[in-house]
Symmetry: C2
Subunit: 300 residues, 2 copies
């Protein structure tokens, strides 16, 4: 099952996809359910409830008729991992603990939904605004002190994440802070695929495309800390809540071929990484899940 959060004529709603574009509006099909996916995920047996409500129903609307919000518009927490792909650790030359994951936070207003504009900072503020294709984990039941063997059972579903990063700000000082939290700099979508349908993340691949050209591609089995270990770790200090998002880190850049000529927007640190600029389109695909696509616009 694939679920979206959207706004239609100003009203918030939750939808159930019937194909890649059409969806059943849950506030028609199941008016008793809340209009917030985060709230729905806190209901016992939400999946069965929804399945029954939409069974056999045709699409009410298409994703082009509405404004798609981040899958969870206002999570209580967005935990994100730095340097969690072996390939990315290698290319950055940075060190990271192999015992404990490296965790930072993003704020809800740093993310937009599928097909919405991701904002490139003004030129005088940054020239290094970068895509980072990632797997997003969305928590269902949550809880504290979750043993590793129970952790995947706490996952409601998965989505794609573009963890847009403003490199100069990320490097201003020792903590990432603002560099990972520019307004509307990231994206979460296109939908949440329920965990039962997606299966084991380690069997899938994340791919990032800039203007149709592959820039990142890696199996999700290349993580230093897999999903269950991160859930266990976070729950030692924090009671995970329905709708919380964990963004699992990004792989490295695909190395360019021998005939490669670096353009004006290429990273001077990492061969194959191209900074995003207004007018670009960026896609994060996770095989078996879907494609999150966003145009890049100039920030006001």
């Amino acid at each position: 099952m694939r679920l979206i959060s959207y706004r239609h004529k100003g009203e918030a709603g939750v939808g159930v996809m019937v194909d890649d574009t059409g969806f059943v509006a849950l506030n028609n099909a199941a008016p008793d359910l809340p209009r917030s996916l985060r709230e729905i995920l806190s209901w016992d047996g939400w999946a069965a409830w929804i399945e029954e409500a939409v069974e056999g129903k045709p699409a009410d609307l298409g994703i082009d008729d509405v404004v798609l919000e981040p899958v969870i518009p206002e999570p209580q927490a967005i935990w994100a991992l730095a340097l969690n792909f072996k390939m990315h650790i290698e290319e950055t030359g940075l060190t990271t603990s192999t015992e404990h994951p490296q965790i930072f936070l993003r704020m809800p207003c740093s993310q937009v939904g599928h097909l919405q504009n991701m904002e490139c900072p003004r030129g005088e503020i940054s020239g290094m605004y970068d895509y980072e294709g990632e797997l997003a984990v969305i928590i269902g039941a949550g809880g504290r002190y979750i043993p590793k063997q129970d952790a995947l059972g706490k996952v409601a579903g998965y989505a794609c994440y573009n963890e847009g990063s403003v490199r100069e700000f990320q490097r201003h000082n020792r903590q990432f802070g603002l560099g990972k939290n520019f307004e509307n700099s990231g994206a979460l979508g296109p939908w949440m695929m329920t965990a039962d349908e997606f299966g084991n993340p380690a069997n899938q691949t994340v791919i990032t495309r800039l203007n149709g050209v592959e820039k990142q591609k890696s199996g999700l089995d290349d993580m230093l800390f897999p999903v269950e270990q991160v859930i266990q770790y976070l729950s030692t200090g924090y009671s995970l809540r329905p709708g919380d998002v964990i963004v699992m880190g990004t792989p490295g850049a695909l190395k360019p071929g021998p005939d490669y000529v670096a353009g004006p927007n290429e990273s001077d640190r990492i061969p194959g990484r191209t900074h995003m600029k207004p007018g670009d389109t960026v896609e994060v695909e996770i095989t078996g899940l879907g494609v999150l696509k966003n145009p890049i616009t100039q920030s006001a």
Copy 2:
């Protein structure tokens, strides 16, 4: 004017202090105003509106009759500064940029209100749970690209913050992540004093007491990056919103005297720093503003 957020018989409310314990319940005095201080701060002319509504009114309730919430219970953002006091930089021996502030984030659920329990992690999880007395800045009008000379005009008021930190987790890896976000590990209160009443923060002193013993004491003029510069910096990437909180960093530990004998709960890195444990009481005072007091309890 001093404003609080509280719950009374399960209902959220905003109060205006008439002395150090009694307050006027704003939902009685001004039923048209929202019951959320964050929402009130987004109203034009909120201060004059409130002043008129409560003028001459006696206290309806006392702070012991209610559960005090963090001054802003659910801010859109809690920005926090690391290593912003010269004294603290010196004692930690850590380096920090002198050009750009060092920023990380806290989550709403990592903070409690005045007189509420701050939770010490279980002994097997951490033995180094530390107070950090700080000035909290609460944003009123907000906005993006705020010039330094306009920045203090965006501040609605100030409060005390206990930026409770779990040191082992903070040091697990390069980003602070979970170590600054244990559930109910910090506190924001006792109230917001409006900016006009508090005046220039640089004229005031922050003091932290553990079980009545002074452990930190520093003028708020010892900051590497003062309030106006941090507001300018954050607004380059993010549109500051009413109710946002900026926690300005902590000073160092007061050095112990020559007759000092380190107890079992003393930091082995920083002389004079004592880790908090269940049964302790911790106070953060800012002169001219008030005292934020919290008992330390064992986390469930």
